[in-house]
């Protein structure tokens, strides 16, 4: 009988070990595949830093490897193939750059691995790929706030839209025009600028000549700073409401505080503008780890990894289980509350922040919560 009990105990232990072993032995593996060099390096590094901070703070051990895509779709596709070749990938922190996401998405779908991104390109969640999760409000959200702030809060009716010729710029322009139309406003001027434009005097002169009462800007970081600098230098005296590139501390660092007077911007969040104790703790930890201030992209990536880790802590051990968890869970992150709209759009809120002309730290002046109505 004693022997039988020993046998039973040993058998139970073995059975338990067998059930637990796959879960504990299964490594949590989050490769970070982002642009660290090339034209999207600023945004990519912010994304990488946010993800790495979340991984470092995680209560469980997370295997991770940062792979640079070089801001090139082919580089992103190769990097993902390489990361997947070893097997055991739980989820991928995937590029902020829309064209790179479009190159990675079919591979992720075949491998059945979720991609956690902060790319704003609208198309990535419109292709019916169930493995894409976007943790930054896309243009469909932010441009509602952008246009509403211009018309309803500033009371401006003659916006001049200045946008980039890139896919990012075109997408922003389309959503801005659509939202202005809903508000009964027609832009007095629309002008596309390529990345290489150095002198902003021509476009600013055209906006003035067209009778614009506000500049609505949707440019990348460097061109945004160039435009604001030159508008201040020529004494244009028009309010500027910029896209999310303006919220980045690195963009504000290119300008004198007085040049920023009257400038506002839309974004998903603004970590440097402060917040509750959790935000302050995030700010301090980020500055300690990277020696610079975080932006909304860092925070979006931080929230994305933390949500995926929460799904893992809830018992998900495979990529497919993580995908299922992400598509169902509602998660209260630092920037906002995240929930999938069924297409992988997780972020549904936006903020408008403004600079007072005295410091480079903006103040959040309006928050647009649950713009899509998903929450």
């Amino acid at each position: 009988m004693k022997g039988y009990h020993r046998l039973l105990t040993a058998g139970t232990a073995l059975a338990l070990a067998a059930t637990i072993a796959p879960a504990t032995a299964q490594e949590i593996n989050f490769p970070v595949i982002v642009p660290v060099t090339g034209i999207l390096a600023i945004e990519g590094k912010a994304q990488r830093n946010g993800a790495l901070l979340a991984i470092r703070q995680a209560a469980i051990k997370v295997k991770h490897k940062v792979i640079d895509t070089g801001s090139k779709p082919a580089g992103a596709a190769n990097a993902l193939e390489r990361a997947l070749s070893g097997g055991g990938v739980t989820a991928v922190v995937a590029s902020i750059f829309g064209p790179e996401m479009l190159a990675m998405m079919p591979i992720a779908k075949d491998a059945k691995v979720p991609l956690l991104t902060i790319s704003g390109t609208a198309k990535i969640t419109e292709l019916g790929n169930p493995y894409v999760f976007r943790f930054f409000p896309g243009d469909a959200i932010t441009k509602v706030a952008h246009a509403d702030y211009v018309v309803s809060v500033l009371g401006k009716k003659k916006p001049a839209i200045i946008y980039q010729t890139t896919a990012y710029g075109q997408s922003g322009r389309k959503h801005l025009v659509d939202n202005f139309k809903k508000l009964g406003v027609t832009p007095v001027m629309q002008e596309a600028l390529s990345f290489s434009v150095k002198d902003m005097l021509p476009v600013l002169s055209k906006a003035k000549k067209a009778g614009a009462d506000v500049l609505v800007v949707h440019l990348h970081s460097g061109p945004t700073a160039l435009l604001i600098k030159q508008a201040a230098a020529m004494g244009l005296n028009l309010p500027i409401v910029a896209g999310s590139a303006m919220h980045q501390p690195t963009t504000a660092a290119l300008l004198e505080p007085k040049e920023l007077a009257g400038v506002c911007a839309e974004s998903g969040s603004s970590p440097i503008s402060g917040g509750g104790p959790a935000m302050k703790s995030f700010l301090a930890a980020y500055k300690k780890m990277f020696g610079s201030a975080p932006d909304a992209f860092s925070l979006g990536a931080y929230d994305a990894v933390n949500m995926a880790l929460k799904v893992v802590k809830g018992g998900a051990r495979t990529a497919e289980a993580v995908r299922a968890g992400l598509s169902k869970m509602t998660y209260k992150g630092l920037a906002m509350t995240y929930k999938s709209d069924g297409k992988g759009n997780m972020a549904h809120s936006a903020v408008i922040m403004c600079y007072d002309g005295k410091t480079r730290v903006p103040t959040i002046v309006k928050t647009y919560v649950n713009v899509s109505g998903v929450l």
Partner: protein, 290 residues
């Protein structure tokens, strides 16, 4: 009034582009090879200015000689890596080596300074001058003056000094120059140093008004290449005129039509020049010389 303001901005931008194009032409004439890293050398000059300003917080005009000297030495090192080991190989080897080093410079700047755009100090002081309704940037005026001095100094050096004559002789016929006792290799190394020094000056001038980032050079080399094709392959005055023409399309024409259309018209003009005058605007001088 607006046209005058646009003209000043255009000339300032063109003057900075001219410095880039001149450095490109110098190396082209001395080695018959295209230096695809010339734009990246401008970027390096911009970051050197940013770093120098961090160490010595003085106006750009004080930093300019330091940046120029540093970049001249940098140019010598560049020639030792990109040109001299390959000088007896086909010129395509030098094309490739300059492309490779340009990528190294981009990634080096990214690693050292980060991907963010940076701003260098103004040459003398920032801000604007207001004359009635006419507002002009002090930096734009400073760029025009400094670039004009540098271009004139280079012209005088080539035309009036023995060193300049030796450089020209090396550029025109290397074997003949060697036969009459000119130290050709030293002349070529000096050309690389001068081209990099000009790039350094352009980097400092551009990095205040238009910022500097690691990928900046790729765009500048395209403009330098177009300027040289428009002006005449290897022509020094042609490079200056070509650079000015590009800036006029970018600044003046784009104020009246859209930027994309102005860019399209620039490339259409380039094609027309290639079709009707393939030697470029100043190409005859080059043909006579040849």
């Amino acid at each position: 009034m607006l046209l005058l303001q646009l003209l000043i901005n255009g000339v300032a931008l063109g003057a900075a582009y001219a410095l880039v194009a001149l450095g490109f032409v110098l190396i082209l004439n001395a080695t018959s090879a295209v230096n695809f890293a010339q734009g990246d050398l401008v970027m390096v000059g911009g970051f050197v200015s940013v770093a120098a300003a961090g160490l010595i917080p003085v106006p750009g005009i004080v930093l300019l000689p330091l940046v120029v000297i540093f970049m001249a030495v940098f140019g010598l090192g560049f020639s030792l890596l990109a040109y001299f080991p390959l000088k007896s190989r086909p010129t395509v080897s030098v094309f490739i080596s300059t492309i490779a080093l340009g990528i190294v410079f981009q990634n080096g700047a990214n690693a050292l300074f980060g991907p963010e755009p940076r701003v260098a100090p103004p040459l003398i002081t920032g801000g604007t001058l207001k004359l009635g309704e006419f507002i002009i940037s002090r930096q734009s005026l400073s760029i025009i003056v400094v670039a004009a001095i540098l271009i004139a100094a280079q012209h005088l050096m080539f035309a009036k000094t023995q060193f300049g004559r030796r450089l020209r002789a090396t550029a025109q016929n290397r074997r003949m120059a060697q036969a009459v006792g000119i130290p050709v290799n030293w002349m070529i190394a000096a050309t690389f140093a001068m081209a990099a020094a000009l790039a350094g000056a352009a980097g400092l001038l551009l990095a205040n008004q238009h910022f500097v980032s690691p990928t900046e050079g790729s765009d500048l080399i395209i403009k330098a290449y177009i300027a040289v094709v428009i002006g005449g392959w290897g022509s020094v005055p042609g490079a200056v005129v070509g650079a000015m023409l590009i800036a006029m399309f970018e600044v003046i024409l784009s104020a009246y039509i859209s930027y994309p259309l102005a860019t399209g018209l620039l490339y259409a003009t380039l094609l027309a020049i290639l079709f009707f005058r393939p030697q470029g605007l100043f190409g005859e001088i080059l043909q006579k010389r040849a």
